[in-house]
Amino acid sequence: MSTVKVVLVYLGQAREAAGTKEEETALQAPAKIEQAVSQAMAAHPKLSELRATIKLLINGQWASQNADLKDGDRVTLLPPVGGG
């Protein structure tokens, strides 16, 4: 079965929760962004607390929850960024 390799990028509180800034992960093809997020949550349970507030980007562009992923995509998990 083929896989899609993507890079998960954690920003702000997501980086704290995941304990890393980025990591590579392999998803079963055809891959959706929701799969990548679920995999991230499973690997880093603390991320689940942020699930409702996290926004997603693919290669720096906003992505919907059911967006398709391809090899080499960078998926960014972005929690709220405030003022200050």
Partner: protein
């Protein structure tokens, strides 16, 4: 309930006035109390740098109660930078000392003929000669004053001063306290300079009366629990406010190259995490009673000498001297920050002014012969640092730039107004409204001019997580809350949050520790307020007090001639970004018009003029203000 200290620098007199409970309950402290005093006592149209202007330095009714975030004080006056109302806030150790020295607020009026400093010590106050400090940096002044009074313990004495920039009335001069804390915005340091007030120092350990000590302790304990739940607190501790720098670039919202772009390839090199991992950070510091420890301590011998006492860069400074000027040299940003602290200048305005000068240089509007041979190329750290010093000394091209981008652009002409990034004369902070619609609205309507701290930014409101029915934020009634939405839901959230944060500025607490980014709930703050004062204030009254201060500052600006015409955004911020996640999405004039209409409607203001109405002022229990505006024919019919 407390006391006001009135200092007339022209006459050299100092008097104490009782502060009536009904005034405190209505106007609270900080922003609200200062707006009341300045609306009543300042005549419209005065020169902000003349002796007629007054400076109000204020704590609040919860001052000196130890809990996270309760370490702020306010400084308000007519702004010499903006077009009307001016306000600024600072942390550190000064706020409790104002209360423990026996006062709720100081009113500074008139102007001295010679440099003086004000010493307040346990209900007594005196003016002392400051000639020996004139011309000195804020660090030299603060250390000198502490030596003079024989007390260097910051738990006992706190000193606030201006540096050479304030003395020379750089229009965005800051007031520095505890060496690294700044009441930076709106040019309050220039007002001090115009009065030849070099500094004030507070010493004292007077006990502040509390109505119900047991209840108070219960609520303070609640704060300890709640603040740990704030989603922004741990990252703030770890990486400081600058920890968001790379996140903002990744999401296309990092002000870059004078707001020409939203992403910066050097963001990783200057972000808060790099400040930590590089070893530039040598410690974390805090304000009085705060467990968050978001303050940065930086230290270095090369490439620049950085003193650990003078403070490390926060987010605004990182972006203003970094991405905004295309500078990815973290050490030069740290140095620019410390130079600003020593000269006493707002780092946001100074960075925006430097970016403006770089664009003017690129366009040939500023030429090498005008800059004294300085090559103001983008990303040139040496040019940035030199320019900061020229501005602080009002030397050469620094004299023009010390006026701020609004006035400098008018003098330069040749189209410079197009890239002078200001609203109401105040330089725009480091947040990108093209990726946060409510931030655009905030920049436009803030009475102090472009401000990023009138309410929490858009990101928090997309999910239901931070909605609060008890505050009027009901998720099911407020659909369409994405970053780019700008309809009635988003504007309602802005209005509710504006009232809440206005109340925070009257209580003078740090919004970093308060809901939604910090964890302390407003109901807890209200509990502390009632336990401290013996009031039985409701949440509706609490929010009304915040709204009252908003009405007052708007009325203050109405008397100065400001209307809807000044509630605008710089044209560049309305054009689409060329890069990042928000590329091609403008903040069009139609969007701004719609948001303003909705905002005015929610406040009961006149949509045509943007002015408060008799009805809105009556609702805020400000009928006397309505009468005054009526006499001046400023009440919309």
């Amino acid at each position: 309930m407390g006391n006001l200290l009135r200092v007339n620098l022209s006459a050299g007199t100092i008097t104490t006035e009782p502060l009536r409970d009904e005034i405190v309950r209505k106007f609270i402290g900080g922003r609200g109390l200062s707006a009341k005093i300045l609306f009543d006592e300042l005549k419209p149209g005065i020169d902000p740098l003349g002796p007629e202007n007054k400076l109000v330095i204020a704590s609040g009714p919860m001052g000196a109660i130890p809990f996270s975030g309760n370490s702020r004080f306010s400084v308000c006056a007519k702004s010499p930078l903006g077009m009307g109302w001016g306000e600024s806030y600072s942390g550190g150790y000064m706020a409790p000392k104002i209360k423990q020295s026996g006062f709720d607020a100081f009113i500074i009026e008139g102007a001295s003929k010679t440099p003086v400093w004000l010493y307040v010590n346990e209900s007594k106050a005196e003016l002392r000669d400051a000639s020996k400090y004139w011309g000195r940096t804020t660090e030299e002044t603060e250390n000198g004053i502490k030596k003079e009074i024989g007390d260097t313990d910051k738990r006992q004495t706190s000193v606030a001063s201006i540096g050479p920039a304030g003395e020379r009335m750089v229009r965005y001069a800051a007031i520095m306290n505890d060496l690294r804390e700044a009441a930076g915005r709106s040019g309050m340091g220039a007002v001090m300079g115009s009065k030849k007030l070099k500094a004030w120092g507070c010493k004292g350990s007077l006990k502040v009366p509390v109505h119900d000590d047991k209840k108070l302790k219960d609520y303070v304990r609640r704060c300890v629990t709640e603040v740990k739940k704030g989603p922004y607190i741990q990252p703030l501790h770890d990486y400081g406010t600058a920890g968001d720098t790379d996140d903002l670039s990744a999401s296309g919202r990092l002000p870059t190259k004078n707001f020409m772009r939203g992403t910066f390839e050097g963001a990783d090199k200057i972000t808060g995490e790099t400040i930590v991992s590089s070893g530039l950070l040598t410690g974390r510091d805090t304000c009085w009673a705060c467990s968050t420890n978001c303050k940065r301590v930086v230290e270095s011998k090369s490439p620049f000498h950085l003193e650990k006492e003078v403070g490390g860069q926060e987010y605004e400074t990182t972006a203003a001297f970094g991405s905004f000027c295309l500078n990815s040299d973290m050490y030069s940003i740290a140095k620019a920050n410390q130079l600003c602290n020593l000269y006493g200048m707002d780092t946001i305005s100074t960075g925006v002014v430097v970016g403006f000068a770089m664009e003017a240089y690129e366009r040939g509007i500023l030429r090498k012969e005008q800059t004294g041979g300085l090559e103001l190329n983008w990303g040139n750290p040496d040019a940035i640092l030199k320019l900061v010093e020229l501005i602080g000394n009002r030397e050469g091209i620094g004299d023009l730039l010390a006026e701020g981008v609004w006035r400098a652009a008018q003098k330069l002409g040749k189209g410079a107004e197009e890239f002078a990034m200001h609203v109401k004369g105040r330089e725009v902070p480091m947040h990108e409204p093209r990726g946060k619609r409510n931030v655009g609205l905030m920049y436009a309507v803030a009475d102090r001019g472009a401000c990023h701290m009138e309410w929490e930014h858009d990101d928090y409101w997309e999910s239901d997580t931070y909605m609060r029915p008890e505050l009027g934020l009901v998720a099911s009634e407020l659909p369409n809350r994405t970053l780019l939405d700008y309809g009635t839901s988003k504007v309602k959230i802005a209005k509710v949050q504006a009232d809440l944060w206005s109340m925070c500025n009257s209580l003078v607490v740090c919004v970093f520790d308060i809901y939604p980014g910090g964890g302390i709930e407003h109901s807890t703050l209200l509990g502390i307020l009632n336990a401290a004062t013996g009031w039985e204030m409701t949440m509706n009254e609490y929010m009304d007090a915040g709204a009252r201060a908003v009405e007052l500052t708007r009325a203050f600006n109405a008397r100065e001639g400001l209307t809807r015409n000044e509630d605008i955004l710089p044209k560049r911020l309305m054009d689409p970004l060329p890069d990042g996640a928000f590329a091609g999405k403008p903040f069009s004039s139609d969007i701004l018009r719609s948001m303003l209409d909705n905002y005015y409607e929610l406040r009961g203001w006149d949509k045509k003029t943007g002015l408060p109405t008799r009805a809105s002022l009556h609702r805020a229990a400000l009928d006397e203000v309505a009468d005054e505006l009526g006499r001046m024919k400023l009440l919309p019919s």
